[in-house]
């Protein structure tokens, strides 16, 4: 047990039964900073949370591994698990609740009625649709039923993780349960997706806290992902980008290029087609704690149709604008009519000049005579 000399935080530590105001403020500010908001916003979050304006959260689990919840609880910053419970009021969460059976069902209904139209519905896991959705049932009801009921009463629906966002692992070929994301079930409402396998907890926190404090939702892309986190590809901000541009590639796991930290593109890295902020917002705030940082190609977990669909070794498609077409258009310095017009003007000037010089010559001749 040599490796366990230093106990893992949050596991071996005694459970914290409260967080100091100072620590609380600090975490709020870090949360704000990591999603690119000013420190004043962090202060406002802390104030809102302490004034009891915590939004009620109903957390639904469907076809998933609970990895998103786990990563949310196990971020390396102290006591974040506790803080989530303090920042927001989680009224239903199957993993975190001690209660079970009828008791927890009761809690769900109570929270739903009490905060109808005000609570945040978080969905974790894909929803099976095949055979009327019988492959995932809770309390005798299918996932589709539960999501439709809870989702219709929620003020906002957030899908956390790739499963809830677009199907994730359960939707991998041949997709035996017909798994889809929450967006495909709640077609009428806006579903914010925070894909990732697992999703980066700060992307989730930033979205929830913005809603809690300002009542607004972040700007979204065409796949309903917050732009602050998913606006750019991994490739754009990759710390190994210089190696890509210089043509230095790791060609095999463990070869010289791999040991020297060269670009992983040739090994099948999906960074060029994957939109996420992993390259700038590492997991658990541990430097380089993300696939490429650890020497593994990005496998495109945030992107529908890439993770669990494209083979790991398959080369990613590079951004379209990087290559010229076979017959590129060459920029002309001036259009044909413009050159023509300029030629006419120049000709007229030269002609006028010639005529003028002729007249002057004649005049001079007359003068001399």
């Amino acid at each position: 047990m040599g490796r366990m000399e230093r106990p893992l935080r949050g596991v071996a530590d005694p459970p914290a039964d409260g967080v100091g105001r100072r620590d609380f403020l600090k975490v709020c500010m870090i949360a704000a900073a990591t999603v690119g908001l000013p420190a004043s916003v962090g202060r406002r979050w802390a104030e809102a949370a302490q004034a009891g304006l915590k939004p009620s959260v109903i957390w639904l689990h469907f076809q998933e591994c609970t990895g998103c919840t786990e990563s949310l609880l196990r971020t390396s910053h102290p006591d974040l698990g506790e803080l989530i419970l303090d920042l927001v009021s989680v009224d239903y969460h199957e993993t975190l609740f001690a209660a079970a059976g009828y008791q927890i069902e009761e809690a769900l209904h109570q929270a739903m009625e009490q905060h109808a139209g005000k609570f945040v519905c978080v969905v974790e896991g894909a929803i099976p649709t095949k055979d009327d959705g019988i492959y995932c049932q809770i309390a005798g009801r299918t996932a589709i039923d539960i999501l439709q009921e809870v989702g219709s009463k929620a003020a906002a629906v957030i899908a956390i993780g790739s499963c809830a966002s677009w199907g994730g692992i359960p939707s991998a070929d041949p997709n035996p349960t017909g798994a889809v994301g929450a967006k495909d079930i709640l077609t009428g409402t806006t579903v914010i997706t925070i894909p990732g396998c697992p999703a980066n907890p700060y992307n989730f926190l930033g979205t929830v806290l913005q809603f809690a404090t300002m009542g607004t939702l972040p700007a979204l892309d065409d796949k309903s992902r917050p732009l602050f986190a998913y606006g750019r590809t991994i490739h754009e901000h990759c710390p190994r980008r210089a190696h890509f541009d210089a043509g230095r590639f790791a060609r095999q796991y463990g070869d010289e290029g791999h040991r020297l930290g060269y670009c992983l593109y040739a090994l099948g890295c999906k960074g060029p087609e994957t939109h996420a902020n992993c390259s700038t917002n590492h997991f658990g705030e541990v430097p380089d704690c993300w696939p490429i940082g650890l020497g593994h190609p990005c496998f495109g977990c945030t992107e529908k149709g890439i993770a669990f669909h494209k083979p790991l070794h398959e080369a990613a498609v590079l951004p379209e604008n990087a290559h010229p077409p076979i017959f590129p258009e060459h920029r002309r310095s001036a259009s044909v009519p413009a050159v023509g017009a300029a030629g006419l003007v120049a000709g007229a000037v030269i002609g006028a000049g010639l005529m003028a010089s002729k007249k002057i010559a004649v005049k001079d001749g007359e003068d001399e005579r």
Binding site: G247, Y265, E320, H323, P325
Partner: protein, 290 residues
């Protein structure tokens, strides 16, 4: 001074026969052959991932300016090698690498009137700045539009791939072939590459275009080239013209030699001109009578 018609025609006929005799030995009738020490490259478009490592490596190997943050969009005065894309419905159907093809019977060498272009060691076509007069006939002659001119420079050069001859001489591979992470472009002797290409087709005929009987571009095209191509799409879509088996130079030679064949056409032309001259003089003598 007067020279009678008979003597003139005799002189022309003698000169014509001489020209016809001297022209015969240069008539090339069979397909050009690769020199025995020929080297080249094989670019397999189905393996290319479009990373452009070769574009950067080429610039480094040849000491050319530019970087990939401002990527070139075509071959130019500072780009000897480029990767392009062929799109179908907004998706890349194939990548394409462009550089000098190092033809077996190069049109540029034939067009260069001062001998600045030469097919030299290993069959590589090189350009000699000391001889070049900047006429750019090579640019016009090349069926692949490869030679580029440094328009923006006061002392411009012709820029084209010389298969990194300077690196081959020190026992290194061309820059692009060294850099390719997927071995989509490889360097080797002409015979080895041809055998390799044929082996790939034999192993995976379904990968290559055209389906059924895949083609190696450069095996016969334009008289054959030392750079060979394999692709999954029509080569014409990748910007490689359909040249037939005859080289441009051979075709031009055929046309030229056709005109002068047996010196019939020039003799006929001069005969007509002579007749017109003779008629005019006779008419002038009749009317004017000076």
């Amino acid at each position: 001074m007067s020279m009678d018609r008979r003597a003139l025609l005799k002189g022309i006929a003698v000169a014509g026969a001489g020209a016809a005799v001297s022209a015969t030995p240069t008539e090339a009738s069979e397909a050009p052959q690769a020199p025995p020490d020929a080297v080249g490259m094989l670019y397999d478009a189905t393996r290319c991932i479009g990373c452009r490592a070769c574009v950067t490596a080429c610039k480094t190997a040849n000491d050319l300016p530019g970087n990939l943050y401002d990527p070139p969009n075509d071959l130019s005065g500072d780009t000897k090698n480029i990767i392009k894309k062929y799109e179908v419905d907004g998706h890349v159907a194939s990548y394409m690498k462009q550089q000098c093809m190092h033809c077996l019977d190069p049109a540029c060498v034939r067009a260069c009137m001062v001998g600045a272009f030469k097919k030299r060691d290993f069959g590589i076509i090189t350009w000699n700045p000391g001889r070049c007069i900047g006429c750019r006939y090579c640019q016009v002659a090349c069926p692949y539009t490869i030679p580029k001119f440094q328009w923006e420079k006061a002392n411009p050069k012709i820029v084209k791939c010389e298969l990194c001859l300077h690196m081959l001489k020190v026992g290194k591979q061309p820059g692009c072939c060294q850099a390719c992470p997927k071995a989509a472009v490889i360097y080797g002797t002409y015979t080895d590459l041809m055998a390799d290409a044929k082996e790939r087709i034999a192993k995976h005929p379904e990968r290559y275009w055209p389906q059924g009987s895949p083609k190696i571009f450069g095996e016969h095209d334009g008289g054959g080239t030392q750079v060979l191509y394999l692709a999954s799409v029509d080569f014409a879509k990748l910007g490689l013209p359909d040249l037939g088996a005859e080289s441009a130079g051979a075709l031009a030679q055929k046309v030229q030699h056709g005109i002068y064949k047996g010196f019939v056409a020039p003799v006929a032309l001069y005969a007509i001109l002579g007749a017109v001259l003779w008629r005019n003089r006779r008419a002038a003598a009749k009317t004017g009578g000076e």
